[in-house]
Symmetry: C2
Subunit: 592 residues, 2 copies
């Protein structure tokens, strides 16, 4: 059975050696000293390894079962959910006012990676609730906040997001679900929503659905969409639960993975709902959830790559097969362990160098969110808004590829469900799709974010890299292995942006045909930057005479691998981008 | 439910416009005129679409069930197997002497792609039988051939390959299964084999297992391995079936995919077997099966990519979502079809340009096998031996990636089993693993095939490209779009081979650390060559005033896409290769 060990050492390195969180002036960051974050991460790691990880294969093989309108979650899920709830893990980074722990998002993100890595399907129940609660927190009335938030923060009640309908996913303007206004100010909702994660289950007393619907007579298309709170049980004035609302689970989907999470068809048959935020401004409110959710999904990509890598590594050290080409390394055994073989190393290093770079990228992104929300830093907000599709798209695509590499290390055993490696790839697959398929992320990046505020944020990104390179140009230890490759990669990114500017105005397809490559190019540059920053921090630690020399030397070697073997992908992406729209758009649809 | 349409038009193009099969002097090729191959392909296509394809999801959802030692295949499999048998499809390219149809392998390969694309799990029962029969044909005694081949050619009896044991896959020298010689010349086999595809089932009267085992007292390791014929039922002298042999299925594995094929643990408890070929020369005999099987597996990668693409394309034309950025294309509908969006195009073109290039590569490889076997052409044999790991490794890796792209076109529906796209990726995944995991293919390519016969075959490959470029250098229509990119890509391949030569002698790891990239680089150059040849053939057809202009123009546009957007990957692979052993091998195993 696969196992999960929380990467606390690496997280501490990023938080303290690279991001220097406790020295920053973002509100709440001064508390984040090494001892405090270590205590939180160790405790979260323990729950992840001991409680959530053993339930991961159980969730996969049992799945969720719908019987007489009730969804039964896999054996052990409810007890584990209670344990997570009792440990106070469900609202780590939410405000104290409604029962949260008010810790920075950066710490919540680190904990989130652990939970997701140990058990993605399970953690989604909590993750969706967090997203729904955040939307109510930002857009809800005081009464709505008082009614729902304390129970949602504690996950006594869970939450969902209801966007997709059978005929529309990305294009929500086609939506048909109706919300008819009632005299008491409530609405009656009618329609069908699909792909509703955690839509119905047996782990919470109530489920608070956030539902997009159209109020009849409103504007056409996406501008006529409003957001509603539709609880499974109506909440009475005294906060107790009243009548069962007219919302039911019609079906649980059979999926490729995340079987432990109930993906429901939800039927709204005159269900009572209350407007959240303003009429016809539903998309704005929904995006509060979506942006957070997108970053959380990027984290899932990284998290599945991490757990798959851990198990591939253990197998590579344990499984004896063949002899090292440079001479026997395990003379007392019948063969050498897999890890002696160069191609197994190549695979493990691809995984390791992605994961550690991605983790730094992820936590840097979370830090920007804290600077934006807690520190009200508009530049940070612009930058994270720009990078959100990159975090979502690049980390889930690459994260998935890494689970495939990890599975491959197991040879035939990787294909057998019993060994657990298949589950990691099957679970990781969804992250490329939900919360906006990765092609939509690329479109968001190139079609919207690049030009946002007159391109201010992407210019700031380039400026930041330039400044970093300039500040460190005298550092000979960094130059050849880290700064030069970063410079080359960021030149490729700039050339791509330039190509879009020069050609995209005349023909938008010239930019959009390269959008997917641009997202990946951008991702590589971000990881290159993170590796350069991590290398700098590692040199500093080694020069300061650290007692953990092995850790920092390994970090440097892993970074050099990334710069030499992964980062040169930027040139290929640039070549694809610069080939423009024609190769992509030339054929008529009928010619395919 | 997904569907399958046989790509007969494209196959005819490759066979006749590109390979000009009927004009070649390879024995049997003169019969392969357009009418004949069309008749065979149309008929095979019909069975694929109408019989095999509808059973594909059935096989996936039902799987195989072991009860009281008997394996039940999914509903409909047996009737379909009878139909395939009765149609004479099981020994298309095997000799007439034992009931085969004696058609060239190139035609068998085209038909094989159809069957595999329509239903991979089903087609494996027949494919394994073909491989086992081929090994008996080459290495068996006259009596063995007479006993087994007629029934195996007709698939009344099926065959298996038994290599892997729980503790050894790639490293077969560690094998423990024993074969004790008996006085009557037979052997008693004892041991356990795992991952035995089609190991036990209810579709044939007998199952002929080919089993690798060690005769006690023989040489250690791989040099002491012999190959045995172990039938499920002992065949009596009159050809009728006698006693049940001591071989049983202990378990069916739960796998990620190919559920319709029974992957068995086979227990040999003093089972009677007969030596096939010479004592201790089992690997040589097994490789007869393995090489054929490896090419067949490469074909599976292509076949799954094709069927996944067909369904993605249909969805992209049908699903209405969003509007084209350059202006509405479907004004009477609520939205435009997905195919208007550049990033959907990018994905479809990636798939289409890979598939068509891969099909040409595959059929060219099959033609080389015919030249080698039927024409006794040693150069062709050397070339296909060199390219076998490329066909297996590159086509299955890329084929898998294409199924992932196709699944992505479906958005959320791609993740729901009901739509069938998940099955294509789950089924395609095994092809990267079995018959030698792709890392082992890369090792075979760089560690063995490159230097084979003093590097003669790789030199011949480079020479062939040089000749092609020279022969066509005056062709302005080809030059910029096809010849120049092919030249650049083949330079990258030559530079890689040069790097290995210069560095691999001193340090074998310097070559092996780049082996995987070399396999992919090689694959891209092969597809680049095929696209150049296809472009040449298309220009010729257009100049000759073809009535099917649209087909050839589409072919050229698809080829240009490959050259512009896919082939530049060679530079990235070269960069990775030239970074050498150090980034890959630097860390101690403990440092991971």
């Amino acid at each position: 059975m696969p196992s999960y060990t929380a990467p606390t050492r690496d997280m501490q390195f990023i938080l303290h050696d690279v991001l220097n969180v406790s020295e920053q002036d973002t509100p709440g960051y001064s508390e984040l000293d090494r001892e405090f974050t270590s205590a939180v991460l160790e405790e979260a790691g323990k729950i992840s390894s001991e409680v959530l990880s053993p339930l991961n294969p159980v969730g996969d093989s049992e799945g969720c079962v719908l019987e007489n309108g009730v969804v039964r979650t896999p054996k052990g899920f409810k007890a584990a959910f209670d344990q997570v709830r009792e440990g106070g893990w469900t609202a780590l980074d939410l405000p104290e006012e409604y029962g949260g722990q008010n810790m920075p998002y950066v710490l919540g993100t680190a904990v989130g990676e652990m939970f997701s890595g140990a058990n993605q399907a399970f953690t989604m129940y909590q993750g969706l609730t967090h997203g729904a609660a955040s939307a109510i927190l930002v857009h809800g009335s005081d009464q709505q906040k008082e009614t729902y938030l304390p129970k949602m923060f504690s996950c006594e009640w869970t939450g969902t997001m209801n966007l997709t309908e059978p005929h529309c996913g990305t294009d929500l303007g086609l939506m048909r679900t109706k919300a008819e206004p009632q005299e008491d100010g409530s609405y009656l909702l009618t329609g069908q929503k699909i792909f509703i994660s955690s839509g119905e289950h047996d782990m919470a007393d109530n489920i608070v659905h956030l539902v997009l619907a159209k109020i009849p007579g409103g504007p056409d298309g996406i501008k006529g969409v409003s957001l509603f709170i539709v609880p499974k049980f109506i909440v009475k004035d005294d906060g107790s639960l009243g009548d069962r609302n007219g919302v039911t689970c019609g079906k649980i989907e059979e999926k490729m993975g995340i079987h432990g999470n109930s993906t429901c068809v939800m039927n709204y048959d005159g269900a009572t709902g209350w407007l959240l935020g303003e009429e016809h401004k539903g998309m704005r409110a929904m995006f509060t959830m979506m942006n957070e959710a997108r970053i959380g999904v990027g984290m899932q990509g990284l998290a599945q790559a991490e757990v798959a890598y851990q198990n591939a590594l253990a197998y590579a050290k344990d499984r004896l097969q063949g002899r090292a080409v440079t001479g026997t390394e395990n003379p007392n055994g019948p063969a050498d362990p897999l890890i002696v073989h160069p191609d197994i190393r190549r695979s493990l290093m691809d995984q390791k160098s992605f994961i550690e770079g991605a983790r730094a990228f992820m936590l840097w992104g979370a830090e920007l969110i804290d600077r934006s929300h807690r520190g009200e830093d508009a530049d940070a907000e612009g930058l994270i808004s720009l990078m959100t599709p990159v975090i979502k798209g690049f980390l889930t695509d690459e994260g998935y590829d890494m689970t495939v590499l990890a599975q491959q290390v197991y040879g035939g055993h990787g294909y057998i469900e019993e060994w657990g490696m298949s589950q990691f790839t099957r679970d990781a697959r969804i992250a490329m799709i939900y919360e906006g398929a990765n092609g939509v992320q690329a479109l968001d990046l190139v079609g919207r974010k690049l030009a946002q505020d007159s391109g201010k944020h992407v210019m700031a990104f380039f400026e930041m890299i330039k400044t970093f390179l300039k500040e460190n140009e005298g550092d000979e230890a960094l130059k050849k292995d880290f700064l030069d490759p970063l410079k080359a990669a960021s030149k490729d990114l700039q050339a791509s942006a330039m190509f879009f500017m020069q050609n995209g105005m005349k023909n938008p397809n010239a930019a959009l045909a390269g959008s997917y490559d641009f997202m990946h190019l951008f991702g590589h540059v971000c990881l290159g930057l993170m590796w350069a920053r991590m290398a700098k921090a590692s040199h500093a630690a080694l020069e300061a005479g650290t007692t953990d020399e092995a850790f920092y030397k390994t970090k440097l070697a892993t970074g050099r691998f990334y710069m030499k073997r992964r980062l040169p992908a930027t040139a290929l992406h640039l070549a694809r981008i610069e080939s423009g729209a024609e190769p992509v758009m030339e054929l008529d649809a009928e010619a395919f």
